[in-house]
């Protein structure tokens, strides 16, 4: 009986035996991480930020993108840039604030200044340079590629990468389902950032974000809260929550869950947690959806939960609220997570408050669910100390079933991530 592989590959799929294994070395190895940073993060479209974060000319946010310090900003003419936050002279950060509005970026080391579009503005004592010194060439370096889909900005450090639209492929439809919640097609990042580290490998959060198999065992206290609040979360006998939900392959390594809603949605599915007062308001939101999108599309937007993973490290959870979160490895056993709430720009104060309340009940470092996910991932990482003795993670669930029968509680959609990861990483050296 050889259920587990004897292979030394990182990812071992056996279609005949219906098995799929990942070698746990991929979660602990510094060499693997280094290779990921070059082979995965430097060739994929990596999330930078949302257009709504830069409302006015001169607005900027500084944040790491694929390990580089980036200034995500809007210039005086309104164009959006992602500039590498590194002085052309001797390399210091030219902007050390988290966010703000800038007329220029000023390097505090020797006083070089740059326009918000990156052009070099002034150099103290420029006459000390030779004739070859060309200020026109010495602006801040922009990320090689910056493109947006429906206000979500992505960077690519590979100049030859396919365009963002082709890259996103089937994921675009699922981004549309989120953005369609807004009558004007404009969503906005809500003020307030959740930034926290998880002492676990970043790929575990990809798995966890879309893995519905863990819901009952990891999140029973959240299910209790829902029950106590009068929401029916009991699955039919013998079924796992969420019932009848699917895991989907969206191409290019992107994947999503696609579940019938049972947990309420600010747009537009009332549950008792919202209170009787909210019923008429939720009905009105739904009526607007139906009149704008038609009843079938409105039901698609309002009556399904979707946890979408854009390969490799962006997750948009459209569940009891919408969260945009991305994460990046700091070490094999540590990732930095940044998460925001996203909502339609038209929302009233009451609607926004309802959205945020629903968000906090489940998501985030103070929520009733996310801290237990973090605990699960950290427990897994601790277990991986024995990766040599217990080398294989089993992701075979659902393999014996047809591709269109892969439930969100199966692991077919997790395998989508691992196949793409494996393809980009190449054969094990």
């Amino acid at each position: 009986m050889n259920y587990q592989p004897s292979s030394h590959d990182f990812v071992v799929e056996n279609r005949e035996q219906k098995t799929f294994f990942v070698n746990r070395e991929v979660f602990v190895s510094a060499d693997v991480l280094e290779r990921e940073q070059r082979a995965v993060f430097d060739h994929c479209w990596i999330y930078v930020g949302h257009a709504s974060e830069l409302k006015n000319p001169g607005d900027f946010k500084t944040r790491p993108v694929a390990g580089r310090p980036i200034i995500f900003c809007r210039d005086r003419e309104g164009a959006v840039h992602a500039l590498i936050n590194c002085c052309r002279h001797r390399g210091a950060l030219v902007c050390r604030e988290r966010e703000g509005n800038a007329r220029q970026f000023y390097c505090m080391y020797h006083g070089w200044t740059y326009h918000p579009d990156g052009r070099l503005k002034s150099v103290p004592g420029a006459d000390a340079y030779g004739a070859a010194f060309d200020t026109g060439e010495m602006g801040l370096v922009a990320v090689p590629r910056l493109e947006a889909y429906r206000d979500f900005y992505f960077a690519n450090f590979d100049r030859d990468a396919v365009d963002l639209g082709s890259y996103l492929g089937g994921a675009k439809e699922y981004i549309d389902l989120v953005v369609d919640q807004s009558p004007s097609g404009k969503m906005q990042i809500v003020s307030g950032t959740q930034e926290y580290d998880i002492r676990a490998n970043w790929k575990l959060l990809v798995e966890n974000s879309v893995d519905d198999y863990h819901l009952i065992s990891t999140h029973s206290t959240w299910l209790n809260y829902m029950r106590n609040s009068g929401v029916n979360v009991t699955p039919p006998k013998g079924e796992l929550l969420p019932t009848r939900g699917f895991g989907r392959d969206l191409g290019n390594g992107h994947l999503t869950t696609d579940n019938p809603n049972y947990r309420g949605r600010p747009v537009a599915r009332w549950i008792s947690v919202y209170g009787e007062d909210a019923k008429a308001d939720i009905d009105a939101i739904r009526n607007e959806l139906v009149s704008r999108l038609g009843s079938a599309r409105a039901a698609r937007v309002a009556d399904t939960n979707r946890n979408l993973c854009i390969f490799p490290n962006l997750v948009i959870n459209d569940g009891s609220s919408v969260t945009v979160r991305h994460f990046y490895p700091i070490a094999p056993d540590r990732m930095h997570v940044t998460a925001w709430a996203l909502g339609p720009v038209e929302e009233t104060e009451a609607q926004r408050a309802r959205r945020l309340h629903a968000f906090l009940t489940f998501y985030g470092p103070g929520g009733f669910a996310t801290p237990d996910d973090v605990a699960a991932l950290e427990a897994a990482q601790l277990g991986f100390a024995a990766w040599r003795e217990v080398p294989w993670s089993d992701l075979s669930r659902g393999m014996a079933k047809a591709p269109d029968q892969q439930l969100a509680t199966d692991e077919g959609h997790l395998r989508v991530f691992w196949r793409k990861w494996s393809e980009l990483m190449g054969a094990r050296v």
């Binding site: 809500v190 930034e195 926290y196 998880i198 002492r199 959240w222 945020l356 906090l360 985030g364 470092p365």
Partner: protein
Amino acid sequence: MNEIVGATVSRAEVEDLLYREADLLDSWRLDDWLKLLTDDAAYYVPPNDKPDADPRFALFTIADDMVRLRERIIRLKDPNCHAEYPLSRTRRLISNVRITGVDGDVIAVVANFIVHRFRHNDLQRVFVGHYRYKLRRQGGQLKIAERRAILDAEELGLLGSVSFIL
């Protein structure tokens, strides 16, 4: 000036309340802790990057009304609250207690805190910041109507989750 405000409350009385609260939270006597709160109390941990934000408009780390706070306590007492099972050990140091104002029956108080948190298999984590309280007297007893725990850390980072009552 801070010793007595309008003869309604003394700093010593406020300190007694805050120290008792710290003791109850460190000993995980959460039902007894709930009794220190008014029935309409609120508990906030604002986002690290927007410490002065309003929970109606900004994404907080925690923004509990009393309904959700009671549910949070139910969760914390459940062994399936994995982030707090086994329970963290915490030790709170409360200092620099000041009464900053009285508005009607609401007494505004600020205090600094350091909360050390220890867990099996985990890092020692140190939460540093200040509290802003709104206290109210109810049935002769000084009670907590609102507590806002504002962290000094620029981001949660290695503090990780705020899964205990901060």
